[in-house]
């Protein structure tokens, strides 16, 4: 999983730049920024979420393309398919805390990587990478004054297990099956 996100992240930069230009052209960046600031200031308020949805799903917006503009990337433009060795799979499972377990799970993972491989075909030479469309915005700074906290009761209500005023968690990370155990599981799934 982690590898997929890494791959996507790397190549996404070119893509996100394009989408940023798109926003800048149609004047949407202002709206987006407003939303951004409001969300920062009044998080968790429902009318705010509502506002976002309303704007993005406005049915008569001519700026949104009516039909898909993408086309599939020819396979010969992709790097050779990746196969995941067993111990890397082990490591990925530990990192992601996701259990692929079966041959099918493994195939699914490899397919996901294959899908992300298409990003290699995006031309990014000479394009300065961006982290987000907010890269040219200045960071909002806050005064060092206490404005929140002291809500242990409310927060603890969200947790299934508490003791006194503590959250209760399982003891450390749960051990995953060893490589030998894995091999057995894979065999059985065939």
């Amino acid at each position: 999983m982690s590898v997929v996100s890494l791959a996507v992240k790397r190549s996404c930069r070119g893509v996100s730049l394009k989408s940023c230009n798109l926003l800048a052209n149609d004047g949407y960046s202002i709206t987006n920024e407003e939303i951004f600031h409001r969300r920062r200031n009044i998080f968790l308020q429902s009318h705010n979420t509502h506002l976002t949805r309303l704007l993005s799903s406005r049915p008569l917006n001519s700026k949104v393309p009516q039909a898909a503009t993408w086309e599939p990337v020819p396979l010969d433009q992709l790097p050779p398919p990746v196969h995941i060795p067993a111990d890397l799979l082990n490591q990925l499972e530990r990192l992601a805390l996701v259990d692929f377990r079966t041959k099918q799970g493994l195939a699914c993972l490899e397919e996901a990587i294959r899908f992300a491989d298409q990003l290699h075909a995006v031309g990014t030479s000479g394009v300065e990478p961006m982290d987000s469309v907010l890269d040219d915005r200045s960071l909002n700074l806050r005064e060092d004054a206490v404005t929140e906290g002291d809500c242990a009761e409310e927060l603890l209500q969200l947790s299934k297990h508490t003791i006194e005023e503590y959250f209760v968690a399982p003891p450390g990370n749960i051990p995953l099956p060893t490589r030998e155990e894995r091999a057995t599981i894979l065999k059985h799934s065939e």
């Binding site: 998080f43 890397l88 530990r94 040219d136 200045s138 960071l139 060092d144 906290g149």
Partner: protein, 549 residues
């Protein structure tokens, strides 16, 4: 290993081929490249066949300093030590969905101020990243830190300590500061092994930290301890961190390796769990000796994380996760780049003044740093460098010393011994701070004034000092009267005592007459013993000289 790491970093830079990180060998190295802790990695393994001659230690430090601020780094909940569990937690600190980080100006200013004091280059633009790991006291599953571009880089810290055989020689050293980065602290876990569960307190989660990375420029525990001590004083002077190690406001991890000078660095271990400066020195020296012993037995040092056990004074291996750690750094999407401005002229038009951090303003507000203070003491009062070191090292001692000076005509060079030896000696013995001293500066000044004007001898003054320490509130004059410690300057009485001493030591008298003037001091000592140190030394010397000539 070195070859594979070079290959791996080339692959990393080649974005189009990044899929090759899937090969397990390379991914092992990439984990290291992506952390801020790369340094002595990718060094060839140090193999020692024959017994090595001069293995020396190499020490680098990672210091986490809790920023002294009212609120956390990205949320408006307060920062306090030992509050009821989970009482200082906002929805963002508990990482509830929909919450967003808002950076605290004070934390940025504190980092910039610290960076300036440590001679760093401030990055005009710095970036925030997510560093992932799963731990219950890190509710978001990642820590926001500064991995790609920290707020400050390339600084140095000058420090000095007393060395040499008599521990009175000031030894000066410099350690490079690689970088200073802003990051979030984690919460605290209380492990209940009995019921096999972990209790989580998020009060500390999200508190602002400055991580300072010091290059491996140190060679032993003493140097590391002195460097951290100086850093602690700088942070406390700036007020950017309270610097209390036992409360975890200053946490130090040491990277230790050994090698033969001139050779590449050896495999290093990381020592954690050190909660005082004294233990830091002990842990490092133990670890250096342990590694030397391993190599001399023909073994190899393993790269691992070790914990210091203060009871046994040893380092022990911690649960080893090295091979499995992959932080999967990624840019923090909710925080645009942090920009600081050099001066008011460089501010963009129309920007809100409370929304900016201006380096020039912070530079102008820097207080007098410990090194400058020491230099000033040496210059102003004609003190020795080692005295200035002792004065500045004790919290409040400089102020105490200067208070005493104001109230006495005694020369600073004569006062300093009383402060650094008598006072500090007594304080240390009872583990007290300067502010807890039972003898106020004015009281000590009074005592020194009495000695200076010839009312008491220096040895009597010492006894008065001890008595003042034992019974606070009594003045020096009261004690001198009560215990009859005043100087005996009755010439007739002193004549008699001197005569007695001379009569019972004919050999010494002959020696003096024969030209050995040094023996005179011995006789003077005997007279002082007779008078319990109360005889006026000038008078006694004159009398003995007269009687032996």
């Amino acid at each position: 290993m070195a070859a594979s790491s070079v290959a791996a970093s080339e692959l990393l830079q080649n974005m189009n081929k990044h899929i090759s990180i899937l090969y397990p060998k390379a991914s092992y190295v990439i984990r290291r490249i992506s952390t801020s802790r790369q340094r002595s990695d990718s060094q060839p393994q140090l193999r020692v066949k024959s017994a090595p001659q001069q293995l020396v230690g190499v020490v680098g430090l990672e210091v986490h300093a809790q920023i002294n601020s009212n609120t956390k780094l990205f949320s408006g909940s307060s920062v306090r030590f030992s509050a009821p569990p989970n009482s200082l937690v906002s929805p963002f600190d508990a990482s509830l969905p929909g919450t967003l980080p808002v950076l605290n100006t004070r934390c940025v200013e504190a980092a910039v101020m610290t960076a300036l004091a440590l001679n760093c280059t401030i990055n005009r633009t710095s970036l925030f990243d997510r560093k992932h790991y799963f731990y219950a006291d890190l509710p978001a599953g990642y820590q926001i830190t500064q991995q790609r571009r920290p707020i400050a880089v390339d600084g140095f810290l000058d420090y000095s300590f007393l060395g040499g055989k008599k521990r009175n020689q000031v030894i000066k050293r410099t350690v490079s500061i690689k970088q200073i980065q802003l990051e979030q602290d984690s919460g605290k876990s209380l492990h209940d092994d009995l019921r096999s569960q972990t209790l989580i307190d998020l009060n500390r989660a999200g508190v602002g930290l400055m991580e300072l990375v010091m290059e491996p420029d140190m060679s032993c525990g003493e140097e590391a301890a002195a460097a951290v001590g100086e850093l602690q004083r700088i942070l406390q002077t700036l007020g950017t961190c309270q610097g209390n190690m036992s409360e975890g406001q200053l946490r130090v991890d040491a990277n230790v390796s050994v090698h033969e000078p001139g050779e590449p660095l050896g495999i290093r271990t990381e020592v954690k769990n050190i909660n005082s400066i004294r233990y830091l020195a002990k842990a490092i020296d133990y670890e250096i000796q342990r590694q030397i012993a391993v190599l001399q037995r023909g073994g190899t040092v393993q790269s691992q994380t070790r914990a210091f056990d203060s009871k046994s004074g040893e380092t022990v291996p911690m649960r080893d996760k090295e091979g499995l750690q992959d932080y999967r750094f990624m840019p923090e999407p909710n925080l645009p780049p942090l920009i600081v401005y050099e001066d008011n002229a460089s501010l963009p038009t129309g920007i809100d003044a409370c929304q900016v951090v201006v380096v020039q303003a912070i530079r102008e507000a820097l207080p007098e740093l410990p090194a400058v203070k020491r230099e000033r003491l040496v210059q102003t009062y004609g003190l020795l460098p080692e005295h200035s070191l002792t004065l500045v090292n004790e919290d409040g001692l400089v102020e105490y010393f200067e208070e005493v000076l104001k109230a006495t005509k005694k020369e600073p060079r004569k006062v300093i011994g009383w402060v650094t030896k008598e006072l500090v000696g007594h304080l240390k013995q009872q583990d007290m701070s300067v502010s807890q001293s039972p003898i106020a500066p004015s009281a000590l000044a009074e005592l020194l004034e009495l000695q200076e004007t010839g009312h008491i001898s220096s040895s009597a003054a010492r006894r008065v000092f001890q008595e003042m320490w034992r019974s606070p509130g009594k003045t020096a004059l009261q004690i001198i009267r009560e215990q009859d410690l005043g100087l005996v300057s009755d010439t007739a009485q002193l004549h008699n005592i001197c005569q007695e001493v001379l009569d019972s030591h004919p050999d010494e008298v002959n020696a003096i007459r024969g030209g050995n003037k040094k023996v005179l001091n011995k006789l003077m000592g005997l007279v002082q013993r007779e008078t319990k140190g109360r005889a006026d030394p000038v008078l006694v010397r004159k009398i003995i000289q007269e009687k032996t000539s």
